[in-house]
């Protein structure tokens, strides 16, 4: 047992697939793309060892489709990709939202637009994660920043996906994905692992999209519940409908099931927030940089604090509002030209919100953030 508990130097992407296995993931379909490929490579080795299924599909679109198919057949499933591949997966992501199929999509963000800078870090898919697929839909996206945290957040992603029958996106940048840190793999049982609720009613009574329930149970194909799944707006029984009331209620339930459970999906980390006069809002590797800046600022006697969301969608508006109560301003560093900063501005009316942006494939360093903090001296 002692050996299992041992520390291991692990890459972020490696921690991700080990976390997935811990969470019960037994199906992976993907297509190679930098900088996420290590996840596919690792699972092609690890999944067969535990009787799981790995398949390299012919493209990104096929990958998300196979993941949804496998999940409907009852396996916890995931795929991993990066910017351009994430764009290709958007229609499939929307299908998973609409058909309410649990699955996890990892996007190790890289520079863009288009092929961009494949090996350079970026955080430019934050809005794509929220709005990339068409139509109103619920989105849950997690933003881990440490290798150990990628493990636990991957487990949490599966838990949210299973609990709420929804796709969950894990968003992290190339730095976090490729860096190595010592981590301790938790013992079985140490982290909570949630499995989807299955129906117990007689098959003829089963309503896979029952509007009376927040999250209806999900049967697996081949277990006696011969249900129907479609990407069309559908009735409680899963069959298509043109009835406007049913359409509206169905879409609203999709949104509501995440909205009503935001408190349990949200997760944030704070550093010196209690008396912060200037709050840095940062996620992913940028948050690590920001943490250093806050520490440097405190050494200089500036009351700076860090708000670090681990759940970026749904946006942590409530906790942010609380965190900036005593603040004179908010600084939002991100490796893009201004994405989540818009959401921060929207939620901090009347407050000075400063973005620090970088798209040159280099990380935002602590000095850059400190310079902005020092204006609040």
């Amino acid at each position: 047992m002692a050996a299992r508990k041992a520390k291991k130097l692990m890459q972020g992407n490696e921690s991700c697939f080990e976390g997935a296995i811990y969470a019960g993931c037994r199906f992976y379909a993907g297509y190679p793309i930098t900088p996420s490929t290590e996840i596919a490579e690792g699972l092609s080795r690890r999944l067969p060892q535990i009787g799981g299924k790995f398949i390299q599909m012919e493209d990104e679109i096929a990958s998300i489709a196979a993941v949804v198919g496998a999940s409907l057949a009852g396996l916890k499933s995931m795929t991993a990709t990066s910017g351009p591949g994430f764009s290709l997966k958007q229609e499939g992501l929307g299908y998973a939202c609409m058909a309410e199929v649990p699955c996890v999509i990892v996007n190790v963000m890289r520079g863009g637009p288009s092929t961009g800078y494949p090996t350079g870090p970026s955080q430019s898919d934050v809005m794509q994660a929220k709005w990339g697929t068409h139509g109103d839909h619920p989105v849950v996206a997690l933003t881990p920043a440490y290798v150990q945290e990628i493990f636990s957040e991957t487990v949490r992603a599966f838990n949210i996906a299973e609990k709420y029958r929804t796709p969950v996106i894990i968003l992290y940048d190339e730095i976090v994905g490729h860096m190595r840190e010592p981590i301790i793999i938790p013992e079985p049982g140490e982290l909570e692992v949630i499995d989807r609720e299955k129906p117990t009613c007689p098959p003829e009574d089963y309503l896979p999209y029952d509007r009376r329930l927040e999250v209806p149970p999900l049967a697996a194909f081949g277990e006696g519940y011969r249900f129907h799944v479609t990407g069309l707006n559908h009735k409680d029984d899963g069959f298509p409908t043109n009835d406007s009331k049913t359409i509206e209620e169905g879409v609203k339930r999709l949104i509501r099931k995440i909205d009503n459970n935001r408190e349990s999906i949200w997760k944030n980390d704070g550093y010196y927030l209690d008396d912060a006069e200037v709050v840095v809002f940062a996620y992913g590797s940028t948050a690590r940089s920001a943490r250093r800046s806050v520490r440097m600022a405190r050494e200089k006697g500036i009351k700076a604090g860090l708000f670090r969301p681990l759940t970026i969608w749904p946006f942590p508006d409530k906790a942010l509002k609380e965190a900036v109560k005593k603040a004179r301003g908010v600084i939002v560093p991100e490796m893009n030209l201004g994405q989540i900063v818009l959401e921060v501005e929207r939620n901090c009316p009347g407050m000075a919100v400063t973005g620090i942006h970088r798209v040159d494939g280099e990380p935002i360093n602590p000095k850059q953030i400190l310079d902005a903090i020092e204006k609040y001296r």
Partner: protein, 289 residues
């Protein structure tokens, strides 16, 4: 032969097949237009499934988008109506996750060969066990009559107003070249023959592709001067085709311009999920690193 036996045989033949066993009756009426052959194909398919000995729980029917892709909604199996072109990818996920399920995919010429062309060739290449019915009516019916990859050159459609300049795919040749281990062609006109072909297709272990010539009198017929649905069926499906076995015995000039019907290609090759199980044994042999 005694009169009694003859009567018994006659009676046996006349017992109507009970489609209700497989139809979700409360989901009817279906969306297909008058004169469309999709319903005829579905009946052949259900009779073939009935003879396969598979239970309804053992079957998963997957489709993409289009008229033929509405089929799963009407049948009492595990059913999935997915995205345009991606039926085979969803089906691959279901199959690999649960190899004990029999996968039947209903797809159209546009769905399988245009937007889903990449998935089509790679599914055939893997030889993953599934029966793929490509309902080939040479038109995008659901969107109102645009040309598809099987629309004959010169044909009119709402997006080829001066005649289609693109050559068409031969779905069966494509499937064969891509590695499908069972390739056949049938028509909605030859219902009994189609049933026999589908029995073999469902029984086959590996990727089985059956192209089914089917007419769209509303969107293809009207734009291309066909007088009626029955005239289309006779001209395209009956006169435009010939059984492969019969074609072999005829001089080439009598076969020219006709599409072959029946089982066109059937070989044995390791099936993907079985290969995967062998891979798992290999991985387990190497121990849990």
């Amino acid at each position: 032969m005694s009169t009694g036996a003859a009567t018994a045989k006659k009676q046996k033949l006349s017992v109507p097949f009970d489609y209700n066993k497989y139809i979700r009756k409360n989901k009817l009426p279906h969306i297909w237009c008058p004169g469309c052959g999709h319903g005829i194909v579905l009946k052949s398919l259900l009779r073939a499934i009935d003879k396969s000995g598979l239970t309804k729980d053992q079957i998963c029917m997957v489709s993409g988008i289009g008229c033929s892709s509405r089929t799963p909604g009407y049948v009492d199996f595990n059913t999935m109506h997915t995205l345009h072109g991606r039926a085979l990818s969803y089906a691959t996920g279901v199959k690999l996750a649960k190899p004990e399920l029999k996968i039947i995919v209903t797809t159209g010429d546009g769905d399988a060969l245009a937007i889903g062309g990449n998935h089509f060739i790679h599914t055939c290449r893997r030889n993953i066990d599934m029966t793929i019915l490509v309902y080939s009516n040479a038109i995008y019916g659901m969107t109102g009559g645009q040309f598809s990859p099987t629309t004959p050159q010169g044909s009119m459609s709402t997006t080829s107003r001066y005649g289609n300049i693109e050559p068409s795919f031969d779905c069966c040749e494509l499937a064969k070249a891509a590695g499908a281990t069972f390739v056949a062609r049938g028509t909605a006109y030859h219902t009994q023959e189609l049933e026999r072909t589908l029995i073999e297709a469902v029984r086959h272990k590996g990727t089985a592709v059956v192209e089914i010539l089917d007419s769209c009198p509303i969107y293809f017929g009207r734009q291309n001067k066909y007088k009626s649905a029955s005239q289309m069926m006779e001209q395209i499906e009956k006169d435009g085709t010939i059984p492969a076995a019969q074609a072999e015995k005829l001089p080439p000039e009598e076969v020219k311009g006709k599409l072959l019907r029946g089982i066109l290609h059937r070989v044995e090759r390791p099936e993907y999920c079985e290969q995967y199980l062998k891979l798992v044994e290999k991985a387990l042999g190497k121990g849990n690193e």
